[in-house]
């Protein structure tokens, strides 16, 4: 398999489909990254809340 494009300019142009190809890839990668953030945030919040609850329980004792 060989690289199909002869120049960076040709690669970016995507044979006149650039306006469709790059937004597609861009949107997909954006959502990929966002999901990673959301997942880690969900876990971090849940861990923080669980720690808080533990502290409150211990204080009650």
């Amino acid at each position: 398999m060989m690289i199909q494009f002869h120049s960076v300019a040709q690669f970016l142009a995507m044979g006149k489909y650039a306006a469709y190809v790059w937004p597609s890839y861009g949107l997909t990668l954006l959502v990929v990254v966002l999901n990673i953030f959301w997942a880690r945030r969900l876990l971090a919040h849940a861990q923080r809340d669980a720690r808080r609850r533990l502290v409150m329980q211990e204080e009650r004792v």
């Binding site: 398999m1 199909q4 690669f11 190809v21 937004p23 597609s24 890839y25 997909t28 876990l43 669980a50």
Partner: protein, 244 residues
């Protein structure tokens, strides 16, 4: 035959720890495969005879569409297991799946539009496949909306589980719509045998990309699952150790 491994999967602390250990494996292998698949699709695959370089969109469209269906299937099965056997971990899996599935359904629809506009001159057609995929997005949103409307997590789990199971009927409709009806969307081209297979140089990056996205979903699920488990285990003793 020992079924202990299966029973352990119903134990929140066990799953919490296991998920934590597995996440890096899923995450990094996903990253490698996605980069390799997208590079192969963008740079190495030859341009299509009819669709030129525009066809390269399929390297993100097909994996995200695949994810949208696969994630709903997991969600529905987990919901059914949670409903029938009252297993909290199963409900946690279903809850973890939904936002991921919904976002990738939206991406599949968007990339599909971006593909169909240059190729067939229209952003949208009300064909069975596109319509049922749009309905899939509404099902995800309804699921998340129903969850959010309950204050009690257990009620939310069980009610949304019924909805998830009822909605499963849509998944085969989306998949087989191009077989049952004449559709603008092309019939299945991701086959390994038969007359309509794609050229290997085009197919391999697609398969790599699909596998990469699947593993990526696995990593996301593992992280979200841990969060959902913690949310459901208010006063459990194991949490103290697990968070230390």
């Amino acid at each position: 035959m020992t079924w202990t491994w299966f029973h352990r999967l119903g134990s929140p602390p066990y799953v919490y720890r296991l998920a934590g250990r597995l996440t890096p494996w899923f995450g990094w292998s996903a990253a490698v495969l996605i980069v390799a698949g997208l590079y192969g699709g963008l740079v190495l695959a030859p341009p299509d005879y009819q669709q030129g370089d525009g066809f390269r969109i399929i390297y993100v469209h097909v994996p995200t569409a695949w994810l949208s269906l696969m994630v709903y299937t997991y969600m529905g099965i987990a919901a059914a297991v949670g409903l029938i056997w009252r297993i909290k971990v199963a409900h946690a899996v279903a809850a973890a799946c939904a936002p991921v599935g919904a976002s990738f359904t939206a991406v599949a629809l968007a990339t599909g539009s971006l593909f169909s506009k240059p190729m067939w001159g229209t952003w949208w057609v009300w064909t069975p496949r596109l319509t049922s995929e749009l309905l899939l997005l509404f099902l995800y949103m309804g699921y998340m909306g129903l969850r959010a409307s309950f204050d009690d997590t257990q009620r939310a789990d069980r009610a949304s589980a019924v909805l998830a199971v009822v909605g499963i009927v849509n998944v085969p409709i989306v998949h087989y719509s191009v077989v049952w009806w004449n559709d603008l969307h092309q019939a299945s081209s991701v086959t390994l045998t038969g007359k309509d297979t794609m050229a290997t140089s085009m197919l391999v990056p697609l398969l790599v990309s699909m596998l990469g996205f699947t593993l990526y979903f696995g990593a996301l699920l593992l992280v979200r699952l841990r969060g959902e488990i913690l949310r459901r285990e208010r006063a459990a003793a194991w949490i103290r150790e697990a968070l230390a």
